[in-house]
């Protein structure tokens, strides 16, 4: 009888220890994940302003291609979300259309669109985070700047990708209206660049995979991929973003990212 009691007791201690241990491990994983995200952000801070000319190719399930051209101007805002201007150049019926986004960490983004044919600047809802950008496989949220505070993290361990040592980090969006429950990102251990991201939908199923390639170093500090390829596993469609050139020497200021100057953006 005593022996049974001892076995039950020690079993209980064992279980308690196991739970405690996993709680500690969970906390560790969250802290480690956050640490990696912070380091990734730290290494990509201080670029100030950039401009990129982007060619977007949409591939249908049947293999047909459609090309879009746009320019993306970004401005870093210290201790806040960044600001961005997306200028549409092709298809030609939307040429001159501009989308301005002021990203925020604590509250929903502010967004405006300039419609050149009637010279109208319209404040629009930024709730459409999971909506398709220009009919592509990229959602609006996939194109917004990476901010540490937008996610909860979990470190999943080390991995290897194309012979490179990687950290595997899961993140859960904290902002509202996201189309994802979970992202898994492969970040290289040397430069903290995101090489691959898997997106899991609201049902928890694998929706898309984003693969980055052709990283180049700018200003001796900042790594930028020249190609981002997004594959949608559920529809069979995919989209390739080719960054034709990054320019880190632009002199844009906050005044260039105001909604009331969208009519003079070129």
């Amino acid at each position: 009888m005593k022996r049974i009691a001892r076995i039950v007791l020690s079993g209980a201690f064992f279980l308690a220890g196991l739970t405690l241990g996993s709680a500690v491990a969970e906390e560790d994983a969250a802290a480690r994940g956050l640490e990696i995200a912070q380091e990734r952000k730290a290494r990509d801070t201080g670029w100030d302003a950039t401009e990129a000319a982007v060619e977007m190719t949409l591939y249908s399930r049947g293999g047909s291609e459609t090309v879009r051209q746009l320019r993306i101007r970004s401005l870093e805002v210290p201790d806040s979300g960044s600001k961005s201007l997306i200028i549409f150049d092709l298809p030609s019926d939307v040429r001159g259309t501009v989308v301005l986004t002021h990203s925020h960490i604590e509250r929903p983004d502010d967004q405006w669109i300039f419609l050149p044919s009637i010279r109208r600047v319209k404040r629009v809802s930024s709730s459409n985070q999971s909506g398709a950008f220009m009919g592509s496989e990229f959602a609006f949220e996939d194109l917004s700047s990476f901010e540490v505070e937008k996610y909860d993290y979990e470190y999943l361990g080390e991995d290897e990708l194309d012979g490179m040592a990687m950290y595997k980090v899961a993140s859960t969006p904290l902002y509202s209206h996201s189309g994802y429950t979970r992202l898994i990102t492969w970040i290289d251990q040397e430069h903290y660049r995101p090489w691959k991201t898997e997106f899991y939908d609201r049902r928890g199923e694998l929706l898309k995979t984003l693969t980055a390639s052709g990283f180049s170093l700018y200003e001796d500090r900042f790594w930028r991929a020249s190609v981002s390829y997004m594959e949608n596993h559920q529809t069979g469609r995919s989209t390739k973003l080719e960054f034709k050139e990054y320019d880190f020497n632009v002199s844009y200021r906050e005044a260039d990212f105001r909604h009331n100057v969208l009519n003079r953006v070129n």
């Binding site: 459609t66 090309v67 019926d93 040429r95 010279r119 109208r120 459409n128 909506g131």
Partner: protein
């Protein structure tokens, strides 16, 4: 007219690449088809036309540029639509916290979708769009000063542009011809009256608002009966307009309000347009976004209003397919709450390839009573089908990222 065509053709033929300026062109073919027996015996059911638009952009040093947009149309039926018009011909100088524009320009004020209530700077072009979204260029000196969240603007407008009206044998005419050649003005300076406007806009969190005052020639003519009672002529009065436009953007809903107080020489009045736009994104897990529009339009003048919106509820649905072709459609119905009449519009378009856009539009009028402002259009139901081709000559932004 002949001179304007000469200028248009000359600019068209300019070796734009040598000039290092951006050029965008647009060629549109359009067909209007009317279905009911016209009020006038001579009016035609078919109205085909071709439109050309050219836009030139020339940077001038670091801080200024010239922007020219010329529009022209050849219409088989309506001689008023055979014309060349300057939409914009302006020089813009951009300072650090201010900018200045001189020339013909288009300025957009307002937030609602059902009408252009506060939008008082540019004359409307109902020959291109009966809902008021297409407007004529306004000669102006326009300065803006940006002070943080607030922007202050001032306009000086030295020349007035008259509203065009459809002519025989076209459709969409009033029961009597409008003779624009007989236009009269309250001001002895007529078209040379110098109009002034001040506006300030601000953004605060989810709120965007604008306040303005305009003093000058009312763009909206009063149509008067001639002495022989055989035609109408436009009378342009002087007025002062105070106005406000507000939008609050919360989640997927845009709350909108526009209000004006106008004081012409007699009988001041209020008018407003207020409502909301609410979006449902990715309905049924597709890429399709659906927005509903609901706006109430009211004008204190009631039956004497120069617009059809004296007491009308506008209900609309906008569908954006989110597909590669950029397919979208807006259907809206104006319900007259006084007379029970309805006016409906459907505007749909999609892209074919990278340079073509097809459009399909429908307009229908069902007034119930003669007092309804749309009564003269009771037999003018029509559809428009068209195809626009876009082309351009530009700096290659894709080789040189900073354009």
């Amino acid at each position: 007219m002949r001179f304007a065509i000469g200028v248009l053709v000359g600019l068209w033929l300019l070796p734009t690449s040598v000039m290092a300026l951006d050029f965008r062109g647009e060629i549109g073919v359009e067909h209007r088809q009317f279905f009911r027996t016209p009020i006038y015996d001579d009016a035609r059911d078919e109205q085909p036309s071709i439109a050309l638009q050219g836009q030139w952009f020339l940077p001038w040093g670091e801080r200024s540029n010239f922007d020219l947009t010329v529009f022209g149309r050849l219409d088989a039926v309506d001689s008023e639509r055979r014309r060349v018009d300057l939409r914009e011909a302006k020089w813009v100088y951009m300072g650090d916290s201010w900018d200045f524009t001189a020339g013909y320009a288009l300025v957009y004020w307002g937030v609602v979708e059902s009408q252009r209530l506060v939008d008082v700077i540019n004359q409307r072009d109902p020959l291109e769009d009966i809902t008021g979204n297409v407007r004529l260029g306004q000669p102006m000196l326009h300065g803006r000063y940006f002070a943080g969240a607030v922007t202050y603007e001032a306009f000086v407008m030295p020349w007035f542009r008259e509203r065009p009206f459809a002519s025989s044998p076209a459709r969409l005419r009033l029961p009597l011809e409008v003779d624009t050649g007989q236009a009269e003005y309250e001001s002895s300076q007529e078209r040379r009256h110098i109009d002034l406007a001040l506006r300030s806009t601000f953004t605060l969190g989810t709120w965007d608002a604008g306040l303005h005052v305009f003093r000058g020639t009312n763009r909206e003519p009063e149509l008067r009966l001639s002495e022989g009672q055989d035609f109408l002529f436009p009378f342009y009065e002087q007025m002062t307009q105070f106005g406000v436009d507000i939008q609050r953007t919360v989640g997927s809903t845009l709350w909108k309000f526009e209000g004006i107080y106008r004081s012409p020489r007699e009988d001041s009045y209020f008018a407003y347009a207020a409502g909301l736009e609410h979006a449902f994104y990715q309905v049924f897990e597709s890429n399709i976004d659906v927005s509903i529009l609901l706006e109430h339009n009211w004008d204190e003048r009631g039956d004497d209003a120069t617009t059809p919106y004296q007491n009308d509820l506008f209900t609309g649905v906008r569908i954006v397919m989110g597909d590669v072709a950029g397919t979208e459609a807006l259907i809206g119905v104006y319900n007259d709450l006084d007379y029970g009449g309805r006016f409906g519009r459907l505007q749909a378009s999609r892209r074919f390839g990278n340079n073509l856009r097809g459009i399909a539009e429908a307009y229908w009028f069902s007034p119930r009573k003669e007092e309804d402002a749309i009564y003269p259009y009771r037999r003018e139901d029509h559809i428009i089908v068209g195809l626009d081709y876009f082309f351009e000559v530009q700096h290659d932004h894709y080789k040189r990222a900073t354009g």
